[in-house]
């Protein structure tokens, strides 16, 4: 078993370089506002993402109110509805999930988990956050400009996105494209940081195959993002030129309201290829960090090593690689050459194999574990259920011919919410309950947490599971109202009311969660050091919360993988990574 990365050794390679001195903040402003400390930047990212995410949450209530109770709310008209849907979708996917996983968790955890004092380019890291912040402001500004935000759908398909018949044609679409461009610039700065830090700044003994899966997940996701976002970037710039300067990248000859427009010769489908070349990897940009984090949560709280660590790493890499050759499964009925269907259906279903393996390895980690039903564990279980459910419906949509009746129906809405909405958010919650004591020194309130978990998990399941069936029925997505049809029974309206009420209740539970975050900072139980008895380095810092520079005088040296839980012959049921072979955990008493 010598080649397996988790064998413990006394030997650690000597330091190759002397430590570089850190940037030290001199004032309150450089410490908390224009901070160059990755931990502060991580929290800044998380707070901004949460704030804009709340906007998206409120928008989802408005969408649901309209779908559940059409003709009831005068303040929601069709134009407003499409604007809500568009902004909700884009904010959730890009400005909340991507920013929170990579900017938030990435910044906070990478240096701590690989045993570094900070990111390698702290100044660029600071710029990354502030450009993201600017992107959010630009996005929000579209509400206050004439015409309001764009209602083109989060996919922004041209020609519609830049034409009169779509709300927000005046300014909304311009602001959206600019904001995305900014987001990508900011992300690239952060992303390069994450990758270089992981490759270059790991502490002694932290081989790649000794990194926690959290770091692996964030690492692979960041590489995907660095490769995928440029496609969106060029797409956004080209559309901006079409809109503002009248070029015709995506615009064929068009007659609008009886008038021939000046466009001609462009291809709307080209945009779709660019969008989904980004858009599909985007799913994994959100999912892979969640995969990584949840592996660590399950292992720590089941007191058992992650089952098949090497397989888990290779599966992450395989999924990341494959995710670049499946994009056109979003375009089966787009009018592209139908023969592409054979290729993309095959690659899409192949990607299911490494994904399924990850699921097996999670549940096999539970097998013969010593499972603590803590909040992080509960959310991890919730993640597995919703992720498997959403992954399964992905097999429907990926199998090209099955996608034909289902695409653009509520089945798709239910599928992607389950798999990239609910499931990763379960992980985010689990992660917050897990790392909150590290960040604040206090535990989150258990009772409020349980309430939050059960309402969110069961509620989300009740919202989205039945929604698939409305899709089978043939109800299209992005419909302001169903109106009269001959095929939708009365009962579908009742189901829609039920879904809306449930969504509002789930929304309320999130307020309880936010209150818990706020309340526990002062009133939570004071956390003991390393409260979950975890092995990874972030818990082994001399202070908790970790101070500037993370590890005090000396960087830790790593002697083993992070999953030495319940090792036979050792009394404590965990051995931190910085304990040499034969040593015992400090703080395990």
């Amino acid at each position: 078993m010598a080649d397996i990365g988790h064998d413990a050794a006394d030997y650690a390679p000597p330091a190759e370089l002397e430590e570089v001195d850190l940037y030290h903040a001199k004032s309150w402003i450089t410490k908390y506002v224009f901070s160059q400390d990755a931990k502060v930047i991580g929290i800044q990212y998380a707070l901004t993402a949460t704030a804009i995410g709340l906007v998206a949450l409120v928008l989802s209530w408005l969408i649901r109110l309209q779908l559940g109770f059409p003709d009831t709310f005068n303040f929601i008209d069709a134009a407003g509805y499409y604007q809500f849907v568009t902004m909700h979708g884009m904010i959730m996917v890009v400005y909340l999930l991507t920013a929170l996983f990579l900017g938030g968790f990435g910044n906070y955890l990478i240096p701590l988990m690989v045993g570094a004092r900070d990111m390698v380019f702290p100044y660029v890291n600071m710029l990354s956050f502030w450009i993201y912040f600017l992107a959010v402001l630009v996005l929000v500004s579209s509400w206050f400009l004439p015409g309001g935000p764009t209602g083109a759908g989060w996919t922004l398909y041209p020609p519609q996105a830049i034409m009169q018949g779509t709300p927000g044609r005046e300014w909304g679409i311009i602001m959206m494209l600019l904001s995305l461009a900014l987001f990508i610039i900011g992300f690239t700065m952060g992303g390069l940081n994450y990758v270089v830090t992981i490759l270059q700044a790991r502490t002694r003994g932290m081989t790649l195959m000794r990194m926690p899966l959290t770091v692996w997940g964030i690492f692979v996701a960041t590489i995907l993002a660095l490769l995928a976002f440029p496609a969106l970037f060029v797409g956004a710039i080209m559309m901006l030129l079409d809109r503002v300067l009248g070029t015709s990248f995506f615009m064929p000859h068009i007659v609008e309201l009886g008038e021939h427009l000046k466009y001609g010769g462009g291809s709307p489908i080209l945009f779709q290829h660019l969008f989904w070349f980004f858009g599909h990897p985007e799913v994994y940009i959100v999912a892979l960090p969640a995969f990584g984090i949840v592996s660590d949560l399950i292992s720590t709280h089941a007191r058992k090593n992650v089952f098949g660590y090497r397989m888990m790493v290779w599966a992450l890499v395989a999924i990341g690689g494959l995710s670049f050759i499946v994009w056109a499964h979003h375009m089966y009925v787009s009018g592209m050459n139908p023969y592409f269907g054979f290729f993309f259906a095959t690659t899409t279903l192949i990607i299911a194999i490494p994904t399924a393996l990850k699921v097996y390895n999670w549940v096999l980690t539970l097998w013969k574990g010593n499972i603590r039903l803590t909040l992080p564990m509960l959310f991890s279980l919730g993640f597995i259920v919703t992720f498997v459910n959403g992954g399964i419906t992905g097999l429907f949509l990926g199998n090209v011919v099955v996608d034909v009746p289902l695409s653009d129906t509520l089945f798709v809405v239910a599928h992607f919410h389950m798999v990239m909405g609910v499931a990763p958010i379960m992980v985010i919650f689990g992660a917050i309950y897990h790392w909150y004591p590290l960040m604040t020194g206090r535990m989150l309130h258990e009772g409020m947490g349980k309430f939050h978990f059960w309402i969110t998990f069961l509620g989300a399941y009740l919202i989205y599971f039945p929604m698939h069936y409305l899709g089978f029925l043939g109800m299209p997505r992005r419909y302001f109202e169903m109106g009269e049809t001959s095929f939708v029974p009365e009962s579908a309206a009742t189901l829609n009311e039920f879904i809306t009420v449930t969504a509002l209740i789930v929304g309320f539970a999130q307020m309880v969660f936010l209150f818990n975050l706020y309340w526990s900072r002062r009133n939570g139980i004071v956390a003991e050091k390393n409260p979950w008895h975890a092995n990874s380095l972030e818990w082994q810092t001399p202070e908790m919360p970790p101070g500037h520079g993370n590890f005090g005088k000396e960087l830790p040296v790593v002697y083993r993988w992070p999953y030495d839980y319940s090792v036979p012959g050792v009394e404590a049921d965990f051995i931190p990574q910085n304990v040499p072979a034969g040593g015992t955990a400090t703080g395990a008493e």
């Binding site: 519609q160 089941a302 007191r303 787009s334 409305l470």
Partner: protein
């Protein structure tokens, strides 16, 4: 215990919902029953996996719940098990993919006897064009559009003169006759979708897209737009009526051809002009 019970309830509840839910695919009205069959097959394979995983989790959570005096197993890897699961999963995936691709091949291979007709989308209305007596559709392009020729049919193409135009009215099809649906849009993306036919395809300005099918029962069905096309997307509706042969012929005979509609439009402008000059 509690968590395990909930997990089992989720599994069992999902199955019961599936069996008893009143919401399911509309009764099919086309030849694409194979698509429904592929859906059923996928349900079986994935459903079994889903239930197994949930039960397995429930068992673990119940059986291996934390006790101070117990220790977890230490087993980092198990090659045999991991490879076994990989192979099983691959078989399951192949079992869904292979039939899926075969049906897809049918879906994109248009039979020779299929007659072509055209759907033209615009914000926010549906138009149709059927070949006239010559059995051929004339060429068309957005560039040709004028007030009197709103679908952009090539005025110089003789085979287009007798094409039958249906503007913002119901489309009729003949039961049992395979059709190739050609789709065009003059402004933005739309998508021709009839739930009972199981087929849909985007309509893209600048190109012509297609699918084929055979209507298998008579009746009136809703046509919906399934690709976001602007603020009245949800209101872009039409109907397709599937007739038996004689009803279809009666209906067809009453429809206007392209040449007739041009003549009529010109007459109208003439009368308006003469009225105005008076």
């Amino acid at each position: 215990m509690f968590v395990a019970i909930i997990l089992i309830l989720v599994a069992v509840g999902s199955v019961l919902f599936h069996l008893w839910s009143p919401w399911w695919s509309t009764p099919i009205a086309s030849n694409w029953g194979y698509i429904d069959d592929t859906i059923d097959l996928t349900f079986w394979i994935t459903g079994v996996v889903y239930i197994l995983i949930l039960f397995f989790m429930a068992y673990c959570v119940w059986k291996f719940q934390y006790r101070e005096d117990r220790r977890a197993d230490y087993e980092p890897e198990n090659n045999k098990l991991e490879w076994g699961l990989t192979i099983l999963t691959t078989l399951g995936v192949a079992g869904m993919l292979a039939p899926g691709l075969i049906v897809w091949n049918d879906f994109i291979t248009v039979p020779k006897e299929a007659t072509a007709f055209e759907v033209v989308g615009q914000q926010w209305a549906w138009n149709y064009r059927l070949p006239g007596k010559d059995g051929k559709l004339g060429t068309a392009a957005t560039q040709n559009i004028t007030d009197e020729n709103p679908l952009g049919i090539n005025p110089n193409d003789p085979s287009g003169q007798d094409d039958v135009l249906i503007q913002s009215e119901d489309l009729h099809l003949e039961v049992g006759k395979p059709v190739k649906v050609l789709m065009r849009s003059i402004d933005v993306l739309h998508d021709f979708y009839v739930p009972q036919f199981r087929a849909k395809m985007d309509m893209v300005p600048g190109t012509i897209t297609y699918f084929w099918m055979t209507p298998t029962r008579t009746g009136t069905f809703d046509v919906l737009c399934a690709e976001l096309c602007g603020v009245a997307h949800h209101a872009m509706r039409s109907k397709v009526v599937v007739d038996n042969a004689s009803d279809y012929q009666t209906w067809l005979a009453e429809q206007e051809t392209f040449a007739q509609s041009i003549a009529e439009a010109r007459n109208k402008t003439k009368t308006i002009k003469t009225l105005a000059s008076k």
